[in-house]
């Protein structure tokens, strides 16, 4: 059933998308990535590849919320095992049309009926703790589920108060949504709450497209061999992510660069302060990834589009897309 995932480093092009995912792996507090684009552009492939790419995590065996130590296991789970094991970072798929019960967890009907016990059955949020939650076609998901997800993603805790249950458990995960904007818009309130936005398209050169087809073909003919071939590059990226995570706190943020952040957001008229914060954090994560010690303008320039293009007020008079507006503002402010 489980097929080997296509290696992350073997994805052709789509640098912005890959960068966005790496940045959230370095700093999960960035708050999720939204990937907008056509079908067949490698969105799902990239997300599924993450699980294999990211450093493995240590979890208590049998713990439903992937706790790192027995002390962190929620009491309701009644985990008696104290052994830990290493596991891949969880990447959980959230299908369309999923019920709220399935997402948050609910009363365990089976146990209630057969044993007359009141027990909690953890949902997808518990499974995704310390990992990633992937929603394909997020723009088609029912609004109340999206609200719920964003709430939990932000607070890092899932609180279930229903059916006579009162349960809370940690749910710290990075939300990755993907969708095709032609098929339905995402409300601006929700857009704003995703940290980074990437717009992907099919590669526009024939050579790149041929490369995609060739790599995919090679992968499907012999997944093991293909994975081995890319193993080394995967490890390089993984090591850089681990190193960047350690570096993250030590990155210096000069006042001048903070001023640039603010100036950029003001120039664009981005609502609220989330824009500045995300820009700063994304810049910092990038600096750490490039093993720089100080945040500088180049970092901001590289992540401005990712962090800001979905936070602009819609300007009906401006024909240019939001990405173009961001790069214009970047040129004006960070000349």
């Amino acid at each position: 059933m489980i097929r080997r995932a296509f290696p992350f480093s073997a994805i052709v092009g789509q640098e912005q998308m890959k960068l966005a995912m790496i940045l959230t792996a370095i700093d999960p507090s960035l708050g999720g990535v939204l990937v907008f684009g056509d079908r067949g552009t490698g969105k799902s492939t990239a997300v599924r590849a993450l699980a294999a790419l990211l450093p493995r995590i240590t979890v208590v065996r049998g713990c439903p919320v992937n706790a790192a130590s027995p002390a962190d296991c929620p009491p309701w789970a009644k985990v008696c095992c104290t052994e830990t094991e290493e596991r891949q970072t969880p990447v959980v798929d959230l299908p369309l049309g999923v019920t709220e019960d399935r997402v948050t967890g609910a009363l365990d009907i089976e146990r209630a009926l057969t044993q007359g016990e009141k027990a909690f059955q953890p949902g997808l949020l518990a499974q995704a703790n310390r990992g990633y939650l992937y929603i394909d076609e997020v723009n088609l998901l029912e609004d109340h589920i999206v609200d719920l997800l964003l709430d939990v993603a932000q607070s890092g805790e899932n609180v279930v108060e229903r059916d006579g249950l009162s349960i809370r458990h940690p749910a710290r995960f990075v939300l990755i949504g993907s969708g095709n904007p032609e098929e339905g818009e995402l409300r601006p309130q929700l857009l704003d709450r995703f940290g980074l936005l990437v717009e992907v398209g099919s590669p526009d050169s024939i050579d790149e497209r041929v490369e995609v087809v060739e790599r995919r073909e090679a992968f499907e003919t012999d997944p093991e061999k293909f994975a081995k071939k890319w193993e080394k590059r995967e490890r390089v990226v993984r090591d850089r992510i681990i190193a960047a995570r350690e570096q993250l706190g030590a990155i210096r943020k000069p006042k001048a660069v903070l001023r640039d952040c603010a100036a950029l957001c003001m120039q664009l008229g981005a609502d609220g302060l989330r824009g500045e914060l995300t820009l700063l954090r994304a810049g910092r994560a990038l600096a750490a990834y490039q093993s720089d010690k100080t945040l500088n303008r180049d970092h901001l320039r590289a992540v401005a589009g990712l962090a800001l293009s979905h936070r602009l007020r819609r300007d009906p008079m401006d024909e240019a897309g939001s990405t173009a507006r961001v790069s214009r503002a970047v040129e004006e402010v960070l000349h």
Binding site: R3, R39, A112, I206, V212
Partner: protein, 560 residues
């Protein structure tokens, strides 16, 4: 080899094409994904589905409403309760096989997403039976995009659907693994896809596999020109979004494409790669593409476009009494109601093997929660502001509408206002709850000119359709004197005007839930009555009515 496979020219009749696609699918059912079969149920489709046996895989038939518990497995409630311990049943999709989906054009986005997910797991071959009657009804792209083939069996007579000879599939399968393709082949397929405006990279990958399968089927061990052509003909036509343009017409290509070319200068020269193959694929493009050369006509949406509107189901809204149900992963069990249902029987049931259990449930006790959610209503006022009405009745009409506005405001309905006069209709007020805005708009409505009733009906039907997509129910209140004298095309022709009005009214009927026609003429006429009938609305003649009387009449119909 066999005649079917080795046919060199692709002057294939649709039926041969279908059989060839099926045989190719037999060679690599998982890798090629499957087939979309567009045909109404009939002898040709019957003949085709009976050929599916050649796939030699387990057949699983699903319908678009199959629940999660059946698809992916879940608790077997009957066994669980009988045995007193947990029993699971395996899902239909937990084993590999051929998944057949009839009525695939009615797939909801949810169902399509689940199937796509299982398709990605690489165990299934999907046969979508698309029974769409209208061109707009099509299988969800999220699914059809993953399948190599699309065949149309429409218009194939039973006599043409001859039983094809079976090629040696086993041998072809063995050979398939070893078929080699020239290094340039991938590039050619990618270029071809690009020149038909196919953005997804799944298409060239599928085409490459089809080419190899065709080579294997024809008894060759390397891909040749014929294989490439047939692969392109089978995989590309239904995915094309543009018909390839020659150099001088390049500018007329849709924007996204010209953008792509602008960024990569050398693409132009590579744009039209193989004239022969391009011509072959071009010959098979669906008609609408050649007409307009504008892309993405069919099946843009995420769900099957024949699915109808999605009503928010049983998860939100005002709670209703629980009713017997089962655990299928989508609805919620009402535990209290279930307990209540089981309680009276405990004494009787607590015997035999169930003696040691505290509470004994039977599957029939299960109660599921239900919720009711009303969709909002839009009241569309279609007001005749022509000269003939304006003279006598427009002021009264405005008064009536204002009264209705106040009532609808109290019910949190939305209102919209369409006025028609002269040669056209105009949406004066988009659906809103703002009473002030509606009043202002109404007061400013000018009068005078001809009576283009058909235009008014047309505009309201369009609005109703638009609102229906948002999940709102539309109701139309038409106020006119019925003296229609302007046809849809703006010509002053009474007979044509009436004709057009009748036709539009019939169309409108399908878009609205309810309607009222208020005849404001001094002498009510039979014409307007038949128009009201055509749009399925209640007809109320209102000679000499004032605003109060009008609104009382509307209220009596249960609308206002």
């Amino acid at each position: 080899m066999n005649g079917v496979a080795a046919t060199d020219s692709m002057e294939h009749a649709p039926w041969d094409r279908a059989c060839l696609a099926l045989h190719l699918l037999c060679i690599d059912p998982i890798g090629l994904g499957g087939i979309t079969v567009r045909a109404r149920a009939g002898p040709a489709r019957e003949a085709f589905t009976s050929l599916l046996d050649r796939l030699a895989m387990r057949r699983i038939s699903l319908h678009p409403k199959t629940g999660d518990d059946l698809l992916f497995g879940g608790i077997d409630v009957a066994r669980t309760l009988a045995a007193g311990k947990l029993a699971h049943n395996p899902g239909l999709l937990s084993q590999g096989g051929v998944v057949i989906v009839p009525m695939a054009e009615r797939c909801s986005a949810d169902f399509a997403a689940r199937l796509a997910l299982s398709q990605d797991s690489g165990m299934h071959c999907l046969i979508l039976l698309d029974e769409g009657a209208e061109p707009e009804e099509a299988v969800p792209t999220v699914l059809s995009e993953r399948l190599a083939f699309h065949i149309d069996l429409g218009g194939i007579a039973f006599s043409e659907a001859a039983w094809p000879g079976e090629p040696d599939l086993r041998e072809a399968r063995d050979r398939y693994r070893g078929v080699v393709s020239a290094p340039g082949d991938k590039r050619r397929l990618v270029e071809l896809a690009a020149c038909f405006g196919i953005h997804s990279l799944r298409a060239p990958m599928l085409a490459l596999r089809v080419a190899r399968a065709h080579a294997a089927l024809s008894g060759r061990s390397s891909v040749e020109e014929t294989d490439m052509r047939i692969a392109a003909e089978l995989v590309y036509p239904h995915r094309a979004t543009i018909a390839p343009q020659r150099d001088d017409q390049e500018q007329t290509a849709p924007p996204e494409d010209s953008e792509a070319q602008a960024e990569n200068g050398n693409m132009d020269s590579a744009e039209i790669p193989d004239d022969l193959i391009v011509a072959a694929v071009k010959a098979m493009l669906p008609e609408h593409l050649l007409d307009s050369s504008q892309g993405k006509v069919r099946g843009v949406g995420p769900s099957g476009t024949g699915a109808g509107l999605r009503k928010t189901g049983n998860r939100r809204g005002r709670p209703l009494p629980a009713r017997p149900g089962r655990i299928d992963g989508r609805n919620r069990i009402d535990l209290l109601a279930t307990l209540k249902a089981a309680a009276p029987w405990q004494v009787l049931r607590g015997t035999g093997i169930a003696r040691h259990r505290k509470v004994v449930f039977y599957p029939s006790d299960l109660r599921q929660k239900r919720f009711e959610e009303h969709s909002d209503r839009v009241l569309i006022f279609v007001v005749d502001a022509s000269g003939s009405t304006a003279v006598t009745r427009l002021a009264e009409a405005k008064g009536a509408v204002e009264l209705l506005l106040a009532q609808s405001y109290a019910r949190r309905d939305q209102v919209a206002l369409i006025g028609f006069r002269g040669t056209s209709a105009e949406l004066l007020l988009s659906p809103t709850r703002s009473l002030v805005q509606a009043k202002r708009c109404l007061a400013a409505m000018p009068g005078g000119g001809g009576t283009p009733l058909a235009n008014g009906l047309h505009a309201s039907a369009e609005l109703a359709m638009q609102e229906r997509r948002k999940g709102l129910t539309s109701m139309v209140v038409l106020l006119t004197d019925g003296r229609t004298n302007v046809a849809l095309n703006g010509a002053a022709d009474r007979a044509a005007a009436y004709d057009d009005a009748m036709k539009t009214a019939a169309w409108l009927r399908g878009q609205i839930a309810n309607g009222v026609v208020l005849d404001a003429a001094n002498r009510p006429g039979a014409q307007l009555q038949s128009i009201a009938q055509a749009m399925g609305a209640k007809y109320i003649p209102l000679p000499r009515a004032d605003a109060q009387q009008m609104s009382a009449a509307i209220r009596a119909t249960g609308l206002g």
